[in-house]
Amino acid sequence: MEPQDLRARILALLMTIAPDIDPATLDPVQDLREQFDFDSMDRLHFATAISEEFHIDIPEQDYPQLAALQKSCEYVQKKLTAA
């Protein structure tokens, strides 16, 4: 998958689980927790959405790799390549 397509899909997932954030202000490398007060439920929703969209398993210890948009894209790319 092209990186920009992957990124668009992950951003769309992020907006689905957090419709109350403004994507125009999103900094792709900053932690979602710092930027948007993401809490553990937001993180779980994000991990669930990614796991279901891309049919990948995301063990709990990998959650920190979904902390920011850019990191999430890299993580998903790695998982898809490995699969």
């Binding site: 403004d22 007060d37 929703h45």
Partner: protein, 401 residues
């Protein structure tokens, strides 16, 4: 039978509201639990749901009107009397007017951009982006900046697909300039000032070993898909709910000079609203539900808070509240009771500390639980029993299922 549909109680310190939008027209059927009107309060827009079945016979209050709690807003013809037989008749229960409806809250979004002024009545429909509307926006190729402006109205309505279409067609989206954050802060401030003024709080703190709970969660979560995983918070919630059902004096309301014990534990879950503010909708009958069900319901609650669609019963039903600041890294929280409730349990973050386990010192995960309770109802001794019961339940998490 005619049913009077009245403005229900909207919680502490909210006695009036302004009707902004009717969601039903005369002649339309209303199903149980359906929202029929939207009102504006200091705490945001609230969907007023109806807990009767029927056909709307008359809308009495005009949008834009400020009304007091208890005002008749509309009349319905009850299901079973002059309505098609397809509608499901409700069991006899002649609901009181106040019980016939209950509010749902739409949480205001963080103001992301300066909002254009617009008529208040227009506010309800277009201030937040639902996932469906967002998908449509993406299909239409709307830029995120355009969506941000649409979402930034400031009072917490929902951006529906129709609004997206209108925006795409070049129509201006009217949005109110009111500062929802400040209004919510006022309501929180009023409720907490009342709590501090009226409730003689006492506080207890108790640090517990969280190893059993943590390994229970790790074991469970390792074996299930992401969607079925549990959070620490839900384990704590379940333990608090069970303890509140067992130990008298913490679950219920203090009203008219006396304590009324609630028959079931509707556990308020304090949820931070992004950008500031707080809501505490309830997990209904949390003492009687298993962890899986509670987790699912909590997940939905948070989603509704995030998307701005809170539901009726949840918003004012809490009989006791749990609040956690674990996410923010503090070890203990000394919370304020949300009146007319009589207790609130706080949990901090799990920290690794030297602790004694089976006679030797080891690094242990520890959690500090706190309780603020109403001295008009209980004493510290009962509070200690309550907190220790929560601790015992968390020490044997397999029994919390």
């Amino acid at each position: 039978m005619e049913i009077e549909f009245r403005l229900p109680s909207l919680g502490a310190d909210m006695e009036r509201a302004t009707l902004t939008t009717w969601l039903k027209k005369p002649g339309e059927a209303v199903h149980r639990g359906e929202a029929i009107a939207v009102v504006e309060t200091e705490k945001g827009l609230i969907d007023i749901e109806c807990f009767d079945e029927g056909i709307v016979s008359a809308l009495i209050v005009e949008p834009g009107t400020k009304i007091a709690v208890g005002t008749v807003l509309a009349r319905l013809t009850a299901a079973g009397t002059g309505v098609p037989p397809t509608s499901v008749p409700r069991a006899a229960a002649p609901a009181t007017a106040a019980a016939a409806a209950a509010p749902a809250v739409r949480v205001p979004p963080p103001p992301a951009a300066p909002a254009a002024a617009g008529p208040a009545g227009e506010a309800a429909a277009r201030l937040r982006i639902s996932p469906a509307a967002r998908r449509r926006a993406q299909e239409l190729g709307l830029t995120d900046a355009a969506l941000g402006r649409l979402a930034a109205g400031g009072m917490g309505g929902i951006v529906h697909i129709e609004d997206i279409e209108r925006l795409a067609a070049g129509g201006a989206a009217a949005a109110p300039a009111a500062d929802a954050r400040d209004a919510m802060r006022v309501v929180i401030g009023n409720a907490m000032a009342r709590a501090k003024r009226e409730i003689p709080h006492y506080y207890l703190g108790h640090t517990i070993d969280f190893a059993a709970a943590r390994s229970f969660l790790q074991r469970h979560n390792a074996g299930v898909p992401v969607a079925e995983r549990l959070l620490e918070g839900i384990l704590i919630a379940k333990a608090v709910a069970l303890a509140a059902a067992r130990i008298a004096g913490f679950n219920g309301y203090f009203r008219d000079g006396r304590f009324e014990r609630a028959p079931e534990v509707n556990l308020g879950m304090a949820i931070a609203v992004r950008g500031g503010g707080l809501v505490a909708p309830a997990l209904l009958a949390a003492d009687r539900k298993d962890l899986r069900t509670l987790m699912h319901e909590f997940s939905e609650l948070v989603s509704r808070v995030r998307s701005g669609h809170m539901r009726s019963g949840e918003f004012t039903a809490a009989t006791i509240t749990v609040t956690s600041l674990g996410e923010d890294g503090v070890e203990a929280i000394y919370p304020i009771i949300n009146p007319p409730q009589v207790a609130i349990v706080g949990s901090g973050c799990v920290v690794e500390r030297p602790g004694v386990c089976e006679g030797s010192v080891a690094v242990r995960p520890q959690l500090t639980l706190t309780l603020a309770a109403d001295h008009r109802v209980t004493d510290g001794r009962a509070g200690a029993r309550f907190v220790c019961t929560i601790a015992e339940l968390l020490a044997a998490p397999e029994k919390l299922r």
